[in-house]
């Protein structure tokens, strides 16, 4: 579809337009090869309706195997005690907080795509938003495991919620950790609501095509009797817009509150006002890394090249570049303020970060988060899909190390040199974290198998055929 810049201007001041000679603006279509609505339906429903492919079973079994590491790790932890993790004084948080923040951060890109890009009317979001929202929900599930088991006696974890218990004592709302409980559980619930509501029209399509009885019941139940009526769409669109509007402040608040876990503490390296925006930018950065890591293989396996086009990948690379630069700027600014603030403890914390006992983690972080995304300035790299995929993995690695650096360098070198220590994870730590990737993959594979991978109605809405005026506004 080519839009001529003179289309609107001509009628207003033709004389001026002749003088200015505006350039033609070529807008790349969001669905390539002039596909029609029926093709989109067949493509997306086909993924759910086809016979389970062999690769899916192999991946599923492997993922289950990996997930069992988390299962075994947690069983061992619960039956023995939190001491099986490497946490010790002064590093009491260890990998648990690192993994928690890592997974929560990954979730943020899904909400950014489904909510913020929706409010900004970025039409290219349509083909990637469903899978990203699924990623959000599953990532938050992985994140929840760590604080849940870190409390020690996991059977008392419900004390985190404001429920009456036999001690007649309530949660203490002045603690950022309690704010986190509200932020994360709200985030999880609202993400599921948003994800599910967006899926209803697509579930109805699968229901109406279903031949097997179990399919009719399963999708029929989930579709809630949706009938594609204009009245339904009218309320649905309003509800979708409102949920997008609610999710936007929500997603910004979640990582802000996660950063409060650190920033409200009086420790050098943590007690800084830059944390909320810097954490949010980092979260979106890592989330987009994960979106690319997941979607590029999917695009190849399901041949979705007409729906997830090079334009989509290019846009995602640009967001990674932008947020990666923000993160880099934040690293630099932290150092500047540590020097400018002239607080010797703060100054030490930062020198220690870069050149102290965890110098290697710091430089892995810098190379993955600051240097790597800068490669996306080059068109040749953005268009090279395997290279984009590899960089996306570096982004994920880098962001895990960022949280490791923040949490551990500060804790292992606190105010009293007598309590200084060197934290290393145990095998149980490593296995439990490794297993969450399997847990995440199991959930994601089930999503691919049983739920529509893309919002069909939304993808159709951005195609030229959706325009009731035939391209003339």
């Amino acid at each position: 579809m080519s839009v001529n810049a003179t289309d609107h201007g001509d009628s207003i001041s033709p004389e001026l337009m002749k003088k200015v000679k505006p350039a033609k603006w070529e807008e790349k279509p969001l669905v390539l090869n002039k596909r029609n609505f029926h093709w989109v339906t067949e493509k997306i429903c086909g993924i759910v309706e086809q016979k389970t492919p062999t690769w899916w079973w192999w991946c599923f079994i492997t993922a289950m195997g990996i997930a069992s590491f988390t299962g075994l790790g947690l069983v061992y932890l619960v039956s023995t005690g939190v001491g099986v993790w490497g946490n010790s004084n002064p590093v009491n948080w260890g990998w648990a907080i690192v993994n928690f923040v890592f997974w929560i951060g990954i979730g943020h890109a899904g909400t950014l795509i489904s909510a913020i890009l929706c409010l900004l009317k970025q039409k290219w979001r349509t083909s990637i938003n469903r899978a990203s929202e699924a990623m959000t929900v599953f990532a938050v599930m992985c994140a929840g495991i760590f604080p849940l088991f870190h409390v020690g006696r996991v059977w008392f974890a419900w004390w985190l919620f404001p429920l009456p218990n036999s001690n007649a004592i309530w949660p203490q709302f002045r603690s950022p950790l309690e704010w986190d409980v509200f932020a994360v559980s709200t985030y999880f619930t609202v993400s599921i609501l948003f994800w599910y509501m967006g899926m209803i029209p697509d579930l109805a399509v699968i229901r109406d095509r279903a031949k097997e009885t179990w399919r009719k019941y399963f999708y029929g139940f989930l579709a809630m009797g949706w009938r594609n009526a204009n009245n339904h769409w009218r309320n649905f669109e309003m509800a979708y817009l409102l949920l997008a509007g609610l999710s936007t402040p929500l997603v910004l608040s979640v990582h802000t509150i996660v950063s409060f876990d650190f920033a409200v503490a009086n420790l050098p390296g943590w007690h800084t006002t830059i944390f909320p925006p810097y954490f949010v930018a980092g979260a979106i950065f890592s989330g987009f890394g994960m979106v690319l890591t997941l979607l590029l293989p999917l695009r190849a396996i399901f041949r979705l090249h007409d729906l997830i086009t090079e334009k989509h990948i290019d846009n995602m690379c640009k967001i990674i570049l932008a947020t990666g630069s923000m993160v880099g700027y934040a690293y630099a600014m932290e150092f500047f303020i540590a020097w400018y603030g002239a607080n010797s403890y703060e100054g030490f914390a930062f020198i220690n970060r870069a050149f102290g006992n965890y110098w290697w983690a710091y430089w892995i972080m810098i190379s993955c988060n600051v240097i790597c995304p800068q490669l996306f300035w080059f068109k040749g790299i953005k268009n090279n899909i395997p290279l984009v995929w590899i960089i996306s993995i570096f982004v994920n690695v880098g962001m895990w190390f960022e949280r490791f650096v923040i949490a551990n360098t500060t804790l292992s070198r606190d105010f009293l040199p007598s309590s200084w220590g060197y934290y290393s994870p145990t095998v149980v730590d490593i296995f439990t974290f490794f297993g969450t990737f399997g847990f995440f993959s199991v959930l994601f594979l089930l999503f691919l198998r049983f739920l529509p991978l893309m919002p069909m109605a939304e993808v159709k809405s951005v195609m030229p055929a959706a325009d009731p005026h035939g391209g003339k506004h």
């Binding site: 029609n36 609505f37 029926h38 339906t41 404001p162 007649a168 309530w170 949660p171 203490q172 709302f173 002045r174 950022p176 704010w179 509200f182 932020a183 709200t186 619930t189 609202v190 609501l193 948003f194 509501m197 109805a204 399509v205 109406d208 095509r209 139940f221 809630m224 009797g225 949706w226 009938r227 594609n228 009526a229 204009n230 009245n231 339904h232 769409w233 009218r234 309320n235 649905f236 669109e237 309003m238 509800a239 409102l242 949920l243 609610l246 999710s247 402040p249 929500l250 608040s253 509150i257 409060f260 069909m456 109605a457 809405s461 055929a465 959706a466 325009d467 009731p468 005026h469 035939g470």
Partner: protein
């Protein structure tokens, strides 16, 4: 046994149903509905329906959430079991900001979803339009207008001719099976 529900006419494009919907409204029909695979831009105005009422439910949910958040913090930390922590006040609208902020959003989101369900009268797993042989295509690439026999202006022949005149194809009477 079955009873008549309404006359259905299909259309092939968003433009066709957009134009046709305007004509159905001008003709004075009241009990009718468009079935479309996508939310067609501007169809609400063509059908003469107003803005959705979902925001009322969102607001209601949001206010409930805000008050709940404030109330639990005050009740738990200042009234039922006051605890001194870090020299901070028992209750203040400032420090538990994240709590009621999140609860406002949570309840507003539930209000939005359930408001949408309520206004759409869902869940409803049976509906006469599901009896139309090609109803499933309205989720794919076909558009459909159904004029119900409840409509005061409805007349088997006249309505059929009218639907044909606005460009409707394969005009079918939808019949709702009933147990007798």
């Amino acid at each position: 046994m079955d009873i008549k529900y309404g006359l259905a006419a299909t259309f092939n494009s968003a433009k066709e149903i957009y134009d046709a919907a305007g004509k159905v409204r001008e003709e004075g029909y009241k009990e009718w509905e468009c079935y479309t695979p996508i939310p067609v831009h501007g169809l609400d105005a063509q059908m003469g329906v107003g803005r959705s009422k979902v925001p009322c439910f969102t607001l209601l949910g949001g206010i409930t959430g805000f008050c709940t958040g404030m109330l639990i913090v005050w009740f738990m930390n200042a009234y039922d079991y006051p605890l001194i922590v870090g020299g901070k006040p028992y209750f203040s609208p400032i420090y538990p900001f994240p709590v009621f902020y999140e609860l406002t959003i949570l309840f507003a989101a539930f209000g939005t979803l359930f408001g949408m369900f309520f206004l759409n009268r869902l869940p409803r797993h049976n509906h006469p339009v599901f009896e139309h042989p090609s109803f499933g295509r309205t989720g794919d690439d076909k558009y459909m207008i159904v004029i119900e026999i409840e409509d005061p202006k409805f007349d088997d022949e006249e309505t059929k001719d009218f639907l044909k005149s606005v460009g409707g194809k394969s005009i079918t009477m939808i019949r709702e099976p009933i147990d007798s």
